[in-house]
Symmetry: C2
Subunit: 354 residues, 2 copies
Amino acid sequence: MNKKIVLLPGDGIGAEVIHAAKDVLTAISKKFNHEFDFQYCDIGGIAIDNHQNPLPDETIEACKSSDAVLLGAVGGPKWDNNPSHLRPERGLLGIRKALDLYANLRPVKGFEKLLHASPLRQDIIQGSDLLIVRELTGGLYFGQPSERRDNGNSVVDTLTYSRKEIERIVDKAFQSARLRKKQLTSVDKANVLESSKLWREIVEEKKSDYPDVTVNHVLVDAAAMKLITEPTSFDVIVTENMFGDILSDEASVLTGSLGMLPSASLAEDGVGLYEPAHGSAPDIAGKGIANPIAMILSAALMLRYSFQLEEEAVAIEAAVERVLNQNYHTADLKSEDGKLVNTNEMTELIVNEL
Amino acid sequence: MNKKIVLLPGDGIGAEVIHAAKDVLTAISKKFNHEFDFQYCDIGGIAIDNHQNPLPDETIEACKSSDAVLLGAVGGPKWDNNPSHLRPERGLLGIRKALDLYANLRPVKGFEKLLHASPLRQDIIQGSDLLIVRELTGGLYFGQPSERRDNGNSVVDTLTYSRKEIERIVDKAFQSARLRKKQLTSVDKANVLESSKLWREIVEEKKSDYPDVTVNHVLVDAAAMKLITEPTSFDVIVTENMFGDILSDEASVLTGSLGMLPSASLAEDGVGLYEPAHGSAPDIAGKGIANPIAMILSAALMLRYSFQLEEEAVAIEAAVERVLNQNYHTADLKSEDGKLVNTNEMTELIVNEL
Ligand SMILES: CC(C)[C@H](C(=O)O)[C@@H](O)C(=O)O
Ligand SMILES: CC(C)[C@H](C(=O)O)[C@@H](O)C(=O)O
């Protein structure tokens, strides 16, 4: 198989972890006889520095003509006081929109070896394994108007969804649930928001197309509680963009494995983008100590979802698990009897396990 | 002191816990020689049943001419499929707006005796003591338009804030921080939302009026993580309505004391409304086993904030603490060597401690 992969390191630890993922993919290409062509492009803060634009046209073009995109992370204090159009996050929001990446899939599953790092009690977190399906190109993030009014004395943002936008993400979530425990939790605020009412109606309509999937509706505030008190009660969660942003970050710290969590952002038929759940971690950037596993597992998701290379994806996931079981860990994880390694060492250990 | 208190039992366990609070207030009035006149009014589901209106005019009038309002809880499955204008939540949103209750204060503090019920590890939750100040009458909850469009093929909700609305809640939060550890965390999504940018600007402007208070800004997704991983890092959190709804519910389960958490909803000079952080719990309603403590502590907040009766408020809080330290608990809390009591028994124990 011959595939073109765009690498978007972005900012902070992005470059370090992208490098790690590239090494692992190169090992996979040798072992399984594929050809992966890598092309680096700028996004986020570095793109602002190099091109005065968080999302240069050549980056968009390169992504569009690729088979898949890997993204490290964007953002950092250096650009925090920039005007809106020159903020790193614009690059991320822009590429999501440009590639129509409407579905963000975030699996949250603890590694047995790391559950001690969970902030939750063992009896509560043990056995949790959930997938958050977040709508990624609609809602408050993109609705217009979004502006100051009355000479700056008031402000408005707009939460809009079309029926079609809701339908496709709900379909995606039902399909994802079918591949798992067939339990779908739709999260909304239907007791207050009109958009949530339409959301809930559409979930109800779609039910009959997936009679094998059990559906329940939970209000977003109740979901924020239940993720903590009963994380094992969830299988697939589907929700709109803003709620998904909050709940997926909340969920990401539950298992103690934030540095291990990958994500996939998918389009209808187009190119997919894969990135770690964690951010650019400016405080440790450049030190070579970042945990590369979330990025490496994101590359595994790319193999699975964009290239249908299930065996290769599983090979990476199993290699990671074996290395963790040998008690190796990066500095983000404290462990008493573990062996502390840096980014390169962890990557090499995983490559060697392949 | 002579005060008129409106009691809004509402639905589910609301009636049971309001009754408990009334008993405690009656004991206080005797001990400290005050006169409290109680008037019952309907709100929520019961008001729909009795008046075809979740917020009858007489309820609004009674509240407006009272000195303070105690609310039990609203909602239940019976009314879940009603049309929007006949839903119990409309009553709650309506009374907030009618009384201009712009500031919702939710203290989250664990009781030593109950920390074992926390879903978090002891080392993480130990020592946490925070206050969430939520804007309660603006944002997505009330913005217009909020409607279907294109023959029902799309939908819009609107997040609006005026500068004045943000200023008054930010002032309230700074003032609250002054009475505590003087650390204010403002939560927003300023990397995406225009409304959050104005919010952050206003917090920055207000800083100079409160030079003794330390301020930091945290994005809402990061805040949802940090509440779990480092709850002790917070003192006062201030945020807009929707974010506050999610984060305050998230925070409410951290200490294991959800059934103990009161809240206060305050107006600029007008009447305050006090209610438990928990909901109407339809599953246990009518059984006489609900935990009345959140409601009783809400009554204590009423004494403190609306009537400036600090000594009386502290008397209630201390009585509750003493009863808990004697190992009494209601059915919502499991305990191996504890003494299980029902709503009436718990109330009596607290009254006897006064
Ligand atoms: C950087 C930011 C715009 C982004 C978002 O809110 O979507 C991030 O938090 C995420 O979840 O990918
Ligand atoms: C019942 C509902 C409308 C309400 C809200 O979302 O404000 C509740 O969740 C709360 O937090 O008081």
